[in-house]
């Protein structure tokens, strides 16, 4: 028995050391490889992309049919473990009802359908790449989706004069973590295609922490007393696009949204399209 126990212990030790050699993101071996600026700050420059299917629903969710039957499996919504810490969003009671209603009307209400700039944090996990540029004065993030772009002010320029689709971003470093305070967003944007939503009073505190040369942990804490009972946090990794020659391509989606936005205003279209079935009776 004793011999067996020793063998098991040895096997466990071996597996521990194998794990260490696999160099999990965040391990000392990998964080040592993070590229750094001359001042010692991590360089987050590069093209990053989320793999978590959070844009379908940031909460844990099973696979489900898509909004349009005609697309078959192509339009079905893939399952995901969710990116909300604890799994649940602390909605106020009315707001949970609102979210369900939003989901039912998502083709009509989701601003992604309309090709509007997606807001923060959603822009970071849409399934399109983003590119971070760390200049001497700013951190800029360019997004493939809708050509959206953010200026992250590393010197606080003062309060925002109005609201913006991509918000008003003021950044600072906490050790190796870039912390960005995002305020003054539009109330119209959602967190995902599942109708999870916020108000214009939302404050997002983002944390970008490199876990190695090719992984960036992204966290965002959401505060919005008009919609939620308490602050809550999402967390997911962003992966570096390592293929040679990777670059942001153009996804100018306005032409793709025009039928949805203006189709009912075409010459000859029925302006009361939704009631067309009633007319034929």
């Amino acid at each position: 028995m004793r011999v067996i126990r020793i063998i098991i212990a040895a096997a466990m030790l071996a597996s521990v050391s194998i794990c260490a050699h696999a160099q999990q993101p965040g391990s000392a071996a990998l964080t040592a490889l993070i590229e750094r600026a001359p001042d010692g700050r991590p360089k987050l420059d590069g093209i990053w992309q989320a793999l978590a299917p959070a844009n379908w629903d940031i909460r844990p969710h099973a696979a489900r049919p898509g909004a349009l039957d005609q697309l078959g499996a192509l339009g079905a919504e893939p399952p995901g473990l969710g990116v909300v810490e604890g799994g649940e969003i602390p909605y106020q009671a009315w707001a949970l009802e609102q979210q369900r209603d939003n989901y039912a009307k998502r083709l009509e209400l989701d601003t992604e359908v309309k090709c509007f700039m997606p807001g923060v944090p959603r822009a970071n996990y849409m399934g399109h790449p983003l590119q971070i540029f760390q200049s001497e004065q700013y951190v800029m993030i360019a997004y493939q989706f809708a050509n959206a772009v953010r200026t992250i002010h590393m010197n606080d320029p003062g309060p925002a004069p109005t609201s913006f689709w991509m918000g008003w971003s003021v950044g600072r470093w906490e050790g190796d973590t870039l912390v960005v305070d995002v305020t003054n967003q539009k109330a119209d944007t959602w967190f995902d295609r599942a109708g999870n939503f916020h108000s214009g009073a939302m404050r997002v505190v983002e944390r970008y922490t490199p876990l190695g040369p090719n992984h960036l942990q992204y966290e965002a804490t959401i505060e919005d007393p008009e919609v939620f009972t308490e602050p809550w946090t999402i967390s997911l990794p962003l992966y570096r696009r390592v293929e040679a020659g990777a670059e942001l391509l153009e996804f100018k989606c306005i032409p793709f949204s025009e039928e949805v936005l203006y189709g009912h205003l075409r010459r000859g279209a029925d302006p009361e399209d939704e009631n067309a079935a009633d007319d034929t009776e």
């Binding site: 001359p38 420059d45 540029f133 320029p157 306005i254 949204s257 025009e258």
Partner: protein
């Protein structure tokens, strides 16, 4: 946003113009602006061209025909031109004619096209060819434009009475898809003339205020995108030539059709800081299937000491909605009569 250059800067620009005069036929700024000015450098040694720059200037792209071979205005002529232009474009008036009044809906509050001609007082932004005008079109381009004169051509010729049939019949600006002023190449326009240039060691980012067009320009010498991959903004690659940032762009879409150009247009842009407050922006259009020769324009972009804010055109596009809804309402009213 504030756009007027401080007086000292105008002086410098005039000095530059004197140097330019002695360097005719030489659109290369390294020859034309042979001053002692040396731009600040980034920590990694590149010329520092960063900042928010404004192209708001009232000098026309092409020299007006009535100016003939007059290359420069005198200071007095420039003052008169500026006053006349301001009077002509003053939209703070309420004409009796309803259509004209509605046409002035964008009044002077929205108009932000600048009050001044370029500091060199050149009569056109085009510096080459010497007549200051876009070169004649090739026969091929004449045929192409005759068969499809583009939206503005069709509307002007009144051969496109169905331009309110749907969104696709409207021009790219009304649809918020692309503005000629944001380019590339960039040109002065009625408003939103600012752009933010940001540099890193391996990229340049140019964000144009107009419809937040964002160009990511790699400096690592990579090849352009594959030929079949065409984009509204093309595919841009940059490098430094001395103190000048050179950006070459190809892979345009046919719809872009800058000044009638084909998708084969090759664009070369040059950004040279000629003093602390002026970034000289030059572009050369080369499209042998459209123009009988390449042509070059020059805009001195003036530093803006302010922030640039997000311009969300599509998100707030009630205009296109109104155009189409109005056309349908007019049809319904005509049917009821």
């Amino acid at each position: 946003m504030q756009r007027k250059p401080p007086p000292g800067q105008i002086h410098t620009m005039l000095l530059s113009s004197a140097l330019l005069l002695t360097a005719c036929q030489a659109p290369d700024p390294s020859d034309a602006f042979d001053s002692d000015y040396s731009p600040p450098r980034t920590s990694y040694g590149d010329p520092d061209l960063q900042g928010i720059w404004s192209n708001a200037v009232i000098t026309p792209l092409e020299r007006p025909r009535d100016l003939g071979d007059k290359e420069f205005l005198t200071p007095e002529e420039a003052a008169v031109y500026e006053q006349e232009r301001l009077a002509a474009t003053n939209r703070d008036q309420r004409p009796d004619n309803v259509a004209t009044d509605v046409g002035n809906a964008y009044n002077n509050f929205w108009w932000d096209s600048g009050d001044n001609v370029v500091a060199t007082r050149r009569t056109s932004l085009i510096v080459d060819p010497p007549d200051g005008r876009i070169p004649p079109l090739t026969a091929e381009a004449e045929r192409r434009l005759e068969s499809d004169p583009g939206f503005l051509g069709r509307r002007a010729a009144d051969t496109f009475a169905n331009f309110t049939d749907g969104p696709e019949q409207q021009d790219l600006m009304t649809r918020c898809i692309q503005f000629g002023s944001a380019g590339p190449p960039m040109l002065p326009s009625a408003y939103n003339n600012n752009y933010h240039l940001v540099q890193t060691e391996d990229h340049v980012l140019i964000i144009n205020e107009m419809v937040h067009e964002t160009r990511v320009i790699p400096l690592d010498g990579r090849a352009p995108l594959p030929k079949g991959l065409r984009q509204w903004l093309g595919s841009s690659r940059g490098h430094f030539d001395g103190d000048t940032l050179v950006v070459e762009t190809s892979n345009f879409r046919p719809e872009t059709a800058f000044r009638g150009a084909s998708e084969n247009m090759r664009l070369t842009e040059r950004f040279t800081r000629i003093d602390d407050n002026v970034l000289l922006y030059e572009f050369t259009v080369d499209d042998p299937s459209t123009f009988t020769r390449p042509w070059t324009a020059q805009i001195p972009s003036v530093r803006v000491d302010d922030l640039m804010y997000e311009y969300a055109c599509h998100e707030g596009n009630r205009g296109l909605y109104g155009i189409l809804a109005g056309a349908r309402a007019a049809e319904a009213a005509a049917e009821a009569d």
